[in-house]
């Protein structure tokens, strides 16, 4: 019977690895990445996948092998021992060093995604005059994404702001800075194809940045529970050339001024 159970346990590493081998073949894998920085995240993912994969297979096979070999039915002599000091030291130091290495290795990618805010001007200090203005302000609310672009003058919060819902257009190959806000509860601004995720928190304005390297249209997913309609809080982000972007923004502005009265009535303009 021991042999049978050992084989059942062997299924774990075998099918587990198979899962990860076949998933990419059937497109059950990381969605395409169109961002400048996303590949560092993907790289880190693969690095950890390989590392944990080796440990996973190694330990599961060891367990399988011990089950097979030390089956009580085989009646070997028991190795009476309370442990081994040197083994303990080895299997403390090696994982500790590995974990510390991963910890340090990833710091840069994290800093690039969340700490090194491109908005800070050449002086590196936020809140000075030459800081980069946000490309767009995204305000999440139940259950839609409200977008506000600074109009021609590049200043957010005045008369020529352009208002759009759910349809985020952005220029490709440019550093995008989003000011993320929430009007009601928590939401999370998730762009799977740019490896971006950031919660939107009422009372906070959180900077989010990325740069797309390809044109195309992708999902904006809400990734934080925000109520019964959470599932339908879907937006689209579309990356276009600078020219197309300006043209689109102009057109939105014209549409908006034509219907500005009704927009005011809806309380869309602050």
């Amino acid at each position: 019977m021991g042999k049978f159970w050992a084989l059942v346990f062997l299924l774990v590493p075998v099918l587990g690895v198979a899962c990860f081998v076949f998933a990419p073949v059937y497109q059950h894998w990381l969605p395409i990445d169109v961002s400048q920085e996303g590949h560092t995240i993907d790289h880190l993912f693969y690095f950890i996948l390989w590392l944990t994969g080796v440990v996973f297979v190694g330990t599961e096979i060891a367990l399988f092998w011990f089950m097979l070999r030390y089956d009580g039915a085989a009646n070997r002599k028991v190795n009476y021992t309370h442990g081994s000091h040197s083994l303990e030291i080895i299997w403390t130091i090696i994982p500790a060093a590995t974990l510390l290495f991963i910890a340090i290795y990833q710091m840069n990618a994290w800093a690039d995604s969340k700490i090194r805010n491109p908005a800070a001007g050449p002086d590196g200090i936020l809140g000075t005059a030459d800081d980069m203005p946000p490309t767009v302000e995204v305000t999440a609310r139940q259950f839609e994404w409200r977008l506000r672009y600074p109009g021609k003058n590049g200043i957010l919060g005045d008369q020529d702001d352009v208002h759009v819902v759910n349809d985020l257009r952005l220029p490709v190959q440019e550093e995008i800075l989003v000011d993320l806000k929430s009007a009601d509860v928590l939401h999370s601004f998730f762009l799977p194809n740019l490896r971006v995720k950031q919660d939107a928190v009422p009372g906070m304005k959180i900077p989010v940045w990325f740069r797309a390297t390809e044109k195309g249209s992708f999902d904006i997913v809400c990734a934080e529970l925000c109520g019964w309609g959470h599932y339908k809080m879907k937006g689209r982000v579309t990356f276009v050339s600078r020219g197309e972007f300006d043209e689109w923004l102009d057109e939105k502005y014209r549409e908006q001024t034509a219907t500005v009265d009704s927009q005011v009535a809806q309380g869309d303009v602050e």
Partner: protein
């Protein structure tokens, strides 16, 4: 019982034991064994309820808006037999709440902690039997609060088990009942943990030094400490949320924020404050949900490997290390919450470090099996599967601890896979093992081995089918908690895989019938178990099965640790903790020194 001297309390207690009628013997009992069994039966019933709620979730994710066969029309007549998006949020909120607060925590501490602690340390009962009884009875108002919340207007809580404000401040009755229920569970846990700590420190039999305690007791002891220090924070946070909801105190809402278009609240609060307080408790709580299982699994593995536990002291130190580090990693649930990203980096480092004691424990379990004489009993299979599965849960933790990767996988099914590997494939499988292992002690009869193995085999297959594949969903970025994910282009093609998962989940719940039947039938019809059917070393196996009031029919004196299997000093392949060595001193060894 005003006296605090334990010896005195014990006399008192033994004296009134025989006077009890049915009510005081089986219902309002102060006997730790009866209380343990009360916890066991209650939590197993909630386990069933939690499992059915999970099937509701899986139904919706596999076939959104499809009419539920048979029961759909009964449950959701207004929605034409389908699950509404609102009810879907109730389903996953209550599934997690029930499983965590009514199943895993009370079955570990309440059921096994209660039953095993006095027996394993050689005491006749807990230090505070009355508090012990109350800790069970405080669960009942919680059961009623949470159970009845399904039927109040607006339904049960629907803000997730994490109850993040401001969302949790917007829905009414259900959430209030949820907060009250949780507070009561907290009162129960606190009474339990004070009792366990005191009992383990004060009431060990002569010779039972701390480093002769079985790992089960170490797991329970450290868990009790974790509870005692972490729980007050959750209770305080719960009260703050309650007053925010009832009196508009505004701890968790920012300036000018208004609930459902009501007048703007006074504000001045912060939604992130709740997350810090909540996880300050709930991260240690995930260890509360696994350390006792780790302890029980260690005992089972040593027993059926017929070999001493490999690295007893490193095992103890790593449990303690997990507990210590467990208090400084809570921020890893908040990497993308808007918390200061530099703070995120420090939480990342501490989180990486907490994987270390888990690794050490895994290697020591493997070391225990290595060179052993393995008996493939049902409890052993469950215990081995705990190790095999905990490896997966521990390793997936490293992905999420890596902050940049967590940006992508946070709040996806990768997380769902992770915590089901540690909590279901880990703890719940460990608990099954513990039930099969200690059942003979609890009821004096054996469970059926063949049925046990069939139960193990299918649970093991279905659980991996259900949860391993969720990693793959997570790699695609598939978010958790979506009632209908398929209108996103990115996730549209994932439906067949989700169907597969749902079939596996249905299978997994279905095979628990075998367990239930085996459990109930064996209670009455199983072959009689002697005192020590597994030839184990622990003190509990020296007591009668089931032990009578006061536990031992002799005064236990301890001569050695609990893992002397195949010791050269014994003629048998085991060597009970209390068996005097040949030529032992006639007088018992002095009381424990710490």
């Amino acid at each position: 019982m005003s006296s605090i001297t334990v010896g005195h309390a014990h006399d008192d207690h033994a004296a009134h034991a025989h006077a009890g009628g049915f009510l005081s013997t089986y219902v309002f009992s102060k006997d730790h064994k009866i209380i343990g069994l009360q916890f066991l039966f209650s939590t197993l019933i909630w386990f069933l309820i939690g499992g059915l709620l999970a099937l509701g979730i899986r139904w919706q994710v596999a076939w959104p808006w499809a009419e539920m066969p048979v029961i759909g029309k009964m449950l959701f007549a207004n929605e034409g037999g389908q699950i509404s998006p609102e009810f879907y949020t109730i389903l996953f909120t209550m599934h997690a709440t029930v499983m965590i607060f009514f199943v895993i925590i009370p079955i570990l501490a309440g059921a096994f902690g209660n039953y095993l602690i006095p027996l394993m340390i050689g005491a006749d009962d807990m230090a505070f039997p009355t508090i012990n009884m109350l800790s069970y009875w405080f669960m009942w108002p919680a059961f009623i609060a949470i159970g009845s919340s399904f039927f109040v207007e607006g339904g049960a809580a629907k803000s997730g088990w994490t109850s993040y404000p401001p969302l949790s401040l917007t829905d009414w009755n259900g959430q209030t009942l949820w907060l009250i229920g949780l507070t009561l569970v907290g009162v129960s846990s606190m009474m339990g943990s004070v009792n366990y700590m005191t009992t383990i420190i004060q009431m060990r039999a002569p010779g039972m030094t701390m480093f002769r305690l079985p790992m089960t007791i170490w797991g329970m002891f450290i868990t009790a400490i974790l509870q005692a220090f972490a729980l007050p924070v959750l209770t305080a946070a719960g009260f703050m949320q309650l007053t925010d909801r009832m009196f508009g105190t505004g701890f968790f809402i920012p300036e000018g924020w208004s609930v459902n278009n009501a007048a703007a609240a006074s504000g001045g609060g912060q939604p992130l404050l709740w997350q810090h307080l909540f996880w300050f408790y709930s991260h240690p709580a995930v260890y509360i949900m696994i350390l006792p299982a780790m302890g029980m699994v260690s005992d089972i593995i040593a027993c059926f490997s017929r070999k001493p536990l490999f690295g007893y002291k490193p095992m103890v130190y790593s449990i303690a290390g997990i507990a210590g580090l467990g208090f400084i990693v809570w921020g890893h649930h908040m990497f993308v919450s808007g918390m200061n990203p530099a703070l995120g980096m420090t939480f990342m480092v501490s989180t990486m470090m907490i994987a270390l004691p888990s690794a050490i424990k895994t290697f020591n379990w493997l070391g225990t099996v290595w060179g052993g004489h393995i008996q493939f009993t049902t409890p052993m299979l469950f215990a081995l599967s705990f190790v095999a599965m905990f490896i997966i849960g521990g390793l997936s933790g490293i992905f999420m601890a890596a902050t940049p990767v967590d940006i992508f996988i946070h709040d996806t099914y990768f997380i769902v896979a992770h915590f089901h590997y540690v909590l279901f494939a880990g703890t719940a499988m460990g608990v099954f093992g513990a039930i099969y292992f200690w059942f003979p002690k609890m009821f004096g009869r054996m469970m059926n081995e063949t049925a046990g193995k069939i139960h193990f085999f299918f649970t093991f297959l279905f659980l991996n089918g259900t949860f391993f594949t969720m990693h793959i969903l997570g790699v695609v970025g598939f978010p958790r908690r979506l009632a209908d994910p398929y209108h996103y282009q990115t996730f549209h093609h994932l439906q067949p895989l989700n169907e597969f998962i749902t079939y596996c989940a249905i299978g997994m719940v279905a095979v628990q019938v075998i367990f239930a039947a085996n459990f109930i039938l064996s209670m009455f019809l199983g072959p009689k178990a002697g005192r020590n059917p597994w030839h184990a070393n622990g003190l509990e196996w020296q007591a009668p099965s089931p032990p009578g009031h006061g536990n031992f029919d002799f005064q236990p004196v301890i001569y050695r640790g609990p893992y002397e299997y195949n010791s050269p000093e014994s003629s048998k392949d085991y060597y009970p903790q209390n068996e005097p060595p040949p030529g032992a001193h006639p007088e018992p060894p002095s009381p424990p020194i710490y």
